[in-house]
């Protein structure tokens, strides 16, 4: 039985979502650890792209900030944010965008802006950063976040980064946009999206059962035809994560 922490389970599962991927747009925190882990395992050709304008980073340490001198030294390229967001992200050159969120709904809409009303929030979150355009322009999006009834909500308080439909189920993604969220990784399991854009449970981490998922979701979570029992990180993966996260 593994002694992996919930964060370590998420990092390992998120890294698994990057198997064979060539370009990932990385945020700070868990996505950063997952992407670095993937490069050491399932995606050796993975180029880490940071919104600060660093492409093909080979960080010698896991940075506190998305801009860190260790990302630059030894990278393949730096570019201005105009080139990065314009020519690179908007130009369709990013396969996977990895995003976190404070809230998600069944359509994969992400909130990182406010809890409560925009003008009188109970919690003011950081806002979009690059998330809104990553959600729209990356070829697909992998979400990594903690799951509870406060985060997997019936209706997000603010759509920072669009998913597959508007919160009321109307609309669809613009024709020019990428595929949107294709996987959500939490400490409980892994979720995919149906053809119509609604989230469904696709995999459960070790020692997590169906009821825990329902207890951690504010709507009636759909089930995939088959639900995988996720293997959890191998000992060597855990070692690698701990080397990375320090």
């Amino acid at each position: 039985m593994s002694d992996a922490t919930p964060d370590e389970v998420m990092i390992a599962a998120a890294a698994g979502e990057l198997a064979g991927v060539r370009t990932v747009f990385v945020g700070i925190g868990l996505p950063n650890a997952a992407a670095n882990l993937a490069r050491q395992s399932v995606a050796p050709d993975l180029e880490l792209i940071y919104e600060s304008g660093v492409v093909g980073a080979r960080p010698t340490r896991l940075p506190d900030s998305i801009g860190d001198p260790a990302l630059v030294s030894g990278a393949a390229a730096t570019m201005s944010m105009r080139d990065l967001f314009g020519g690179f992200l908007q130009g369709g050159r990013i396969e996977v965008g990895m995003l976190g969120a404070a809230q998600i709904d069944r359509w994969g809409n992400l909130n990182t802006t406010v809890i409560g009303p925009y003008d009188q929030p109970s919690v003011r979150l950081p806002g979009s950063g690059g998330a809104c355009e990553i959600a729209l322009n990356a070829q697909r999006v992998v979400v990594v976040m903690n799951q509870s009834r406060h985060t997997f909500v019936e209706r997000v308080d603010f759509v920072t980064s669009p998913g597959h439909r508007r919160p009321d189920g109307s609309g669809e993604r613009p024709s020019w946009a990428g595929a949107g969220p294709t996987a959500v990784v939490t400490q409980l399991g892994v979720y995919h999206f149906r053809e119509d854009g609604e989230m469904e449970l696709a995999g459960l981490h070790a020692e997590v059962d169906d009821e825990t998922v329902d207890a951690g979701t504010a709507w009636a979570m759909l089930r995939a035809a088959t639900i995988t029992r996720l293997p959890g990180p191998l000992a060597q993966t855990l070692e690698a994560i701990r080397r990375l996260v320090g």
């Binding site: 998305i66 979009s128 809104c132």
Partner: protein, 302 residues
Amino acid sequence: MSSKVVSLREAIAAHVHDGDTVAIEGFTHLIGFAAAHEVIRQGRRDLILARLTPDLVYDQMVAAGCASKLVFSWLGNPGVGSLHAIRRAIEAGELEIEEYSHHGMVARYAAGASHLPFFPLRSYDGSDLAAANPLIRRVSSPYDGEEIAVVPPLNPDVTIIHAQRADADGNVQAWGIVGVQRDAALAARRVIAVVEELVDSSVIRDDPDRTLLPGTVVDAVCVEPFGAHPSFAQGHYDRDNGVYRDWDAISRDPSRLAAWLDEWVRSLDGRAAYVDRLGPAKVDALRPDPRPSGSVDYGSYR
């Protein structure tokens, strides 16, 4: 050519006025803390502060009462949490906000730099950001009728950038992450460049590709080593992550924050004194080992 080198005190006095729109840019890298502290010392008021990531630098300026409005795209202490002085000011109704995404801010500077009435970008569709900010609008393409989001130009009265080096003519060179620095400067009416090092023009002209801004667009050059601390200057010093982490507790507590501003800003007469207070052990600990770029050959042609 007459030298553009002046003291930071003179540059701020000459170029930053109450009520100005000010951009102290530098995305995670080369954040102009020395300049911000000088603005605080000179007691500027009612500034409109623009920056993708307000960071500690604007949390300090807001705490010091310099600002009436914030234009931004990501409001937090990276890897740590919130910017508490800014949050308090917003909640107290003392600080107006105008919010974009990163690409929106990048595009606003691009429009400002290149004198465009708007800049189009593929963002905001399906997001609530456009409803929250009426300056995010839409334009129809005259080719296929498709609608696309646009943002208006941002033209700061003054942009302050920090960089590794410049010559006395104002040619500025930077390496590593350059973010939006070029556009933020070209968009501005006045530009102050604060640098780690003043070098001979021959150093600049030996490698013209490294020039971030030619001297013709720079109004003042100020030499302030360690002037971007606690952010970093590639090749010069590391990010001081401890300062970012410690800031959380300081900025949560208005009286601690006031004491911090007295100790680290108002009681000092400039960045050299700040570096003294940091102490040589801290400064040394932040110095990286060398990692040279190597040289390329431009060729001498006659």
